[in-house]
């Protein structure tokens, strides 16, 4: 259920006994996602979009890129992580092309999907802890941003803010 309906139901539940606070009437559209916060250089941002789009691609359902996950990652790295961690992500983004060149003789952007997978899965198993940490953080944040998006929550994960209920023992839906 979206926020507007949830707040309407809140008003009904309370029978108009209280006035609706400011936080309920402002800031309806939380989806006005920025595309960039200026934390990354353009080239870094492009590489981040490629990697995020490879981890959770677009298909007949929306992927991470169209849900604004790259900008979410940028926001998180800028605000929530210590500088060395964010720097390591920048270094990882810069290394990705070099590794693609070395493995497949072309830029990461020009690699086939299978080649991109091979490169990123290689990071996951790499002995190079910097590369491994870089990919692990980018992947985890991508999953976090994707699975908490309004689209995934409401279309796939049965998100429902209110009203709710609890039944302790119901048959499993086939």
């Amino acid at each position: 259920m979206n926020r507007r309906i949830a707040i309407r139901d809140l008003t009904i539940a309370l029978g108009g006994l209280v006035s609706i606070p400011a936080w309920a009437s402002n800031g309806w559209n939380a989806n006005s996602l920025k595309t960039s916060y200026g934390f990354f250089e353009t080239s870094e941002q492009q590489m981040l979009e490629l990697i995020v789009g490879t981890i959770i691609p677009e298909s007949d359902t929306k992927g991470a890129k169209s849900l604004g996950v790259p900008a979410f990652l940028e926001k998180m790295l800028q605000d929530c992580y210590e500088k060395p961690v964010a720097e390591n992500v920048k270094n990882g983004l810069a290394s990705t092309d070099a590794i693609a060149q070395k493995q497949f003789g072309k830029s990461f952007a020009n690699c086939e999907t299978a080649q991109k997978h091979q490169i990123l899965l290689g990071f996951e198993k790499s002995d190079n802890t910097q590369l491994k940490d870089f990919y692990s953080l980018v992947k985890n944040l991508t999953i976090l941003g994707y699975t908490t998006s309004e689209y995934v929550q409401t279309e796939f994960l049965n998100y429902n803010m209110a009203p709710g209920h609890y039944y302790g023992c119901v048959p499993v839906k086939k």
């Binding site: 539940a13 941003g145 803010m161 209110a162 609890y166 302790g168 023992c169 119901v170 499993v172």
Partner: protein, 571 residues
């Protein structure tokens, strides 16, 4: 000048002062205002108005800029040790660093709620009654001092607060967990029911699983609607503040009720420094307050004072209330003020899996949990440790998504979580800690907080009795889980700090004898009868039950007694 001083004194004079606006302070305010007393409620933190000041209450996961994680620059304003608990969702209720430093002589976790409503906005909302098996504990087992009250003294007050607060639960007919005034219960799920049946059969009907009684309005009665509260929506977002008033808090319930009488003045940003004692009158006449914004010291006066600052702060205020008559703290001729600090033993945890009921699942969210009332040493001593433990218990089916791989496969897995192939069961112990004199709080000789108030020194540690109890919990629950057919049983001792349970109690204990206790059976100081302490500080022993309901009942009882005594001109 003289007239001005008289005017200010008049302006700052009330019938009653309530120190603290948390779960017990809210009840003091409600009862006193309802009885017509002009009451000032002093709260050291900022105001939190019901609904208006719950900014995260209706936010969806995607509305949080950092999806709950707190940015570094904000995080740096909070104590380092608490960083792991900070979330964007509950940040409005977190305590910033430096507000009230204290000295941990031995490691102690002190969780505080410094805002209007206190911890009533952060509590687990479990509300179990005490029985005489708890009140008689110290006398039977020879520790602390005898409680000056029994179940019969408090039972009508449990009913009084339950009806108003709204408590859901089953009437289970157990002597050790008396029934109350209950709203529709939340149901136990298939696995919790299964455990209930197994325990009844395997232990001769002496061990029970019941639904935890909890302060959720499952079917609002006229008294709840009158408070502006609605049915619990099972959102399980309680710790953000509930705009429905679905669970009980001072903010949703007692404080607005008190305000409606027109008798209440609520003063946030007011840290109480000490209580003023008048030697000629032989009673307290008011309190000294530091305005936390201006650091100005202001005095308020009243005929009675309710001390509800949360257990350790109530100790601190009394210890700091020094006069010629009471050089060791108000009412402290006995020397026991600040001693016999106790808490609950939450160290033992156990988890398991169950592969029955695979054709069943739960639907929706459960704001409560199952509850195993104390079964150890209930009627006589059976083990090599004193007292016993209750336990919380919860089972759930849950679902999961593989996070392995990349691309379409990963995406499909994330979009289509699978129901787990087993139920997960977990339990946590809630043990009675036996209070000992050595566990205490006191004022630091020279360190002060930012308001010029001496810092509190906490000196408390676990005893052998506690350690043995953890071991017994682990053994007994492993056995019970095994009998229930649970698998992959994992038990552990968290060895958490004292206080981590957030149930710190004692220091200003109740008792019959002024030589060994601070408070009489009405929660008034034996030696200063117009000062009442009705929060966790008054607890002579700790029981195993979540204590808030008992604080509420003791507060309502004491407040009504105080009003009666005022009418009789005894106060």
């Amino acid at each position: 000048m003289a007239n001005l001083a008289i005017d200010i004194k008049k302006q700052n004079t009330y019938d009653a002062i309530v120190i603290g606006s948390g779960i017990s302070g809210g009840w003091a305010a409600k009862e006193l205002c309802e009885k017509g007393l002009k009451t000032i409620v002093l709260e050291r933190g900022h105001d939190i108005k019901h609904i208006t000041d719950y900014p995260t209450a209706m936010k969806n996961p995607w509305d949080f800029e950092h999806r709950g994680q707190v940015p570094l620059d904000v995080r740096s304003q909070y104590p380092k040790g608490r960083a792991a608990f900070l979330r964007e969702e509950t940040l409005p209720f977190a305590l910033k660093d430096g507000i009230q430093p204290f000295v941990e002589e031995k490691p102690f976790t002190w969780t505080r709620g410094y805002h209007v409503g206190g911890k009533s906005l952060m509590w687990a909302r479990q509300t179990q009654r005490w029985s005489d098996l708890d009140f008689e504990g110290p006398k039977r087992d020879g520790f602390a001092v005898d409680w000056p009250i029994r179940y019969a003294d408090i039972a009508p007050w449990y009913s009084h607060v339950e009806k108003f607060a709204g408590i859901s639960g089953n009437k289970d007919g157990l002597q050790e967990l008396p029934d109350g005034e209950f709203l529709t219960p939340i149901e136990l799920n298939c696995v919790e029911q299964h455990l209930k049946q197994v325990l009844a059969k395997e232990y001769n009907n002496k061990r029970h699983v019941v639904q935890g009684r909890c302060a959720h309005v499952t079917d609002p009665q006229p008294i709840h609607l009158k408070q502006g509260r609605a049915k619990c929506q099972h959102r399980n977002l309680c710790n953000r503040g509930c705009p429905y008033g679905g669970y009980f808090s001072s903010n949703a319930s007692t404080l607005p009720w008190a305000a409606k009488t027109g008798k209440m003045t609520l003063r946030p940003f007011s840290t109480v420094h000490s209580i003023i004692f008048d030697e000629k009158l032989n009673k307290a006449t008011g309190v000294r307050v530091v305005d936390t914004n201006t650091k100005e010291m202001i005095e308020y006066y009243a005929r009675i004072i309710f001390v509800n600052g949360s257990a350790l702060n109530s100790n601190l205020i009394l210890l700091n209330s020094i006069s010629n008559r009471f050089p060791n703290g108000l009412g402290n001729d006995s020397g026991f003020l600040g001693k016999f600090i106790s808490w609950h033993n939450y160290r033992g945890k156990i988890s398991a899996e169950y592969d029955g009921f695979l054709d069943k699942m739960t639907d929706g969210k459960n704001p409560s949990n199952g509850y195993v009332p104390r079964f150890r040493n209930l009627h006589s001593q059976e083990t090599d440790f004193l007292r016993g433990y209750a336990a919380g218990i919860g089972a759930g089916r849950g679902s999961w998504s593989s996070r392995e791989g990349i691309g379409e496969d990963l995406k499909n897995s994330l979009l289509h979580p699978k129901l787990n192939n087993q139920w997960n069961v977990s339990s946590w112990m809630m043990g009675e800690c036996v209070p000992i004199e050595k566990n205490h709080v006191r004022l630091h000789e020279n360190l002060k907080d930012p308001y010029g108030i001496p810092q509190l020194v906490t000196s408390a540690e676990w005893t052998d009795n506690d350690v043995k109890m953890v071991q017994d919990y682990i053994e007994q629950f492993t056995e019970m889980f095994t009998k229930a057919g649970f698998k992959n049983i994992k038990a552990s001792d968290s060895k958490s700090n004292p206080g981590a349970d957030i149930h710190e109690m004692g220091g200003v204990r109740m008792g019959n004898d002024p030589k060994t206790s601070l408070l009489n059976k009405w929660n008034a100081l034996h030696l200063c009868k117009n000062v009442f302490v009705t929060d966790g500080a008054c607890m002579t022993s700790t029981g195993t039950q979540n204590p808030s309901l008992t604080y509420m009942a003791l507060t309502a009882r004491a407040a009504n007694y105080a009003v009666g005594e005022m009418k009789k001109k005894n106060l």
